[in-house]
Symmetry: C2
Subunit: 358 residues, 2 copies
Amino acid sequence: MAMIDPYGSRLYKDYEKVMKDFGLEQLPDLPEENRLMRRGVVFASRDLKPVVKAMEERKPFYVLTGIMPTSERIHLGNKMVVENVAYFQKHGAQTYILVADLEAATARGVSLEEAKKRAMDFHIPSYIALGLDPKKTTFYFQSENSNVINFAYEAAKKITLNEFKAVYGSADPGRIMAAVTQVGDILFPQFEERMPGVIPVGIDQDPHIRLTRDVVNRMKDRKFFSPAAIYNKFTPSLDGELKMSKSRPHTCIELPDDPKKVCKKIMRALTGGRESVEVQRKKGGIPEDCMIFELYKQHLIEDDKELQKIHDDCKAGKLLCGEDKQHCCELMERYMKKLKKDIEAARKNVDKLNFIRF
Amino acid sequence: MAMIDPYGSRLYKDYEKVMKDFGLEQLPDLPEENRLMRRGVVFASRDLKPVVKAMEERKPFYVLTGIMPTSERIHLGNKMVVENVAYFQKHGAQTYILVADLEAATARGVSLEEAKKRAMDFHIPSYIALGLDPKKTTFYFQSENSNVINFAYEAAKKITLNEFKAVYGSADPGRIMAAVTQVGDILFPQFEERMPGVIPVGIDQDPHIRLTRDVVNRMKDRKFFSPAAIYNKFTPSLDGELKMSKSRPHTCIELPDDPKKVCKKIMRALTGGRESVEVQRKKGGIPEDCMIFELYKQHLIEDDKELQKIHDDCKAGKLLCGEDKQHCCELMERYMKKLKKDIEAARKNVDKLNFIRF
């Protein structure tokens, strides 16, 4: 079985194989699917039925994600997760955002104070700018939530070192501590009241979901619901080589990013263009291989018809890469400006958020 | 190199070998040594010089131990540790007692609430009855001390799984969490102000000391003092076979214990007596092999001259085992009655203790 390393940066092109290897399911039909769901960017799910049932019956359920306040930017992968959180929030989910300041402090050497400051100044306002309803969202800092941490100790007793290695591929003390704390975070909304919950993730985060499900199975008498998950594909790097990552900045778009710089990167992106304009006019381009089209599909174009038209025009040889990149730049520029404004607006109200204090 | 397992119950008879294997030092000269130090029951130390220097120069230093509030009794090993803590307290040490409720909850399945209740009702009053000055002691609950827990996460990042295995002989997630939390506890008094500190332990607890020293070495820029330690020998089981342990109750004395029951156990204890009264009167007894003498030496007789007289009378064949056991019973009965009274008195003032609340 292939190993998914949530800490690595390998790109999974063969999502069907991943689904089979990890026992993931197709995404079931959901009401008013968001852009990512409609377009197969959310490509799989795990145990989503209890969540769908709760949605239909308007019973309590929750959605949860974390903020890792290490850097001063976020990336497009975070954006997709937040959009998926916002989807479930709009459909009635109790919404929890935890700030993984403890993990940031220990794994990345950012002090707890600095991690909190960054989260309040940037990450939380960004998550709100990306679509979270702040009035309906509950926030907490991992380092303050002794309930989660105490549960992490309990969870640690439920798994052996070999089981841990089987899920994560390796085990070292720091990773173990971080992982069992995530187990506590994922189950935290159920500490008071048992209910189904869904964690939107990239596939690289699946080990945390599986570990949590293993721990739940070992605590049958506690009657937790095993967490459900939905999985989004990665945004590829602009050269199409790997998962987009800050470690290769010229192929990476961050949020927010300077519109001018982004434009330069877009101009050098891999497209599905042909060897010459003449050939492309005759044979058409290949949007399936085009990173610009990928940006439209995953992030920039909401309207399916508009996206389809670009797809068709490219295939027909009517839309050439230069013009298309220019269009992408304009959309990106508009997006970045709006995002920056929205972040600033959200920052002003950050002291009014629902923080659980312990 | 022999492995000392702090969770096991093997008895170490060959303390010289243990010292050599683990790189322990002789106990240096200390002012006004207590009964355990004078009699070699405290048989070794590690890196005690900075502590001795701080004592001499009246500079800040600390002594620390933990309470594991699992059972409703403590044992003679705890008694020795508390007596050693009290020794350093009397000589100027800042004194910290942590209640390992988190470890109790996770390792032994006692709920945090129950663990706290037991600590307040029994363990803390007992520690005070055993000689701690409550006015000069700072207490905290592990589960509430987020500073310690956050530090535990950091410590976990500083050690590899193989290093952990080398110190503890094995590694599983629960043990790792408990161990790195103890590292946090041991260094906690230095979080605000760096100073030397000493941890009185049984030799089985040495892995925690070594792990803490390893972590300190990995954090050179933080300038923690490596913890010093002093080591007491085990109290042997009454049949002289093993370390005294609740798992073999007829050879074990707990605190407090019913005086009548204790007396019965004492009557069956291993002594250094001869095959007949006649032989013993002629050749004398062997106090070195006698568990009754061990109880006197470690626990029941404070006055060195009184102890020496018993030793000499036994050797001379003047004191026979029956009479001696009767004497031991009387001392034990008196001790248990006083201890019970002292625990009850301490319990009444338990709400006036210096608890750090977080």
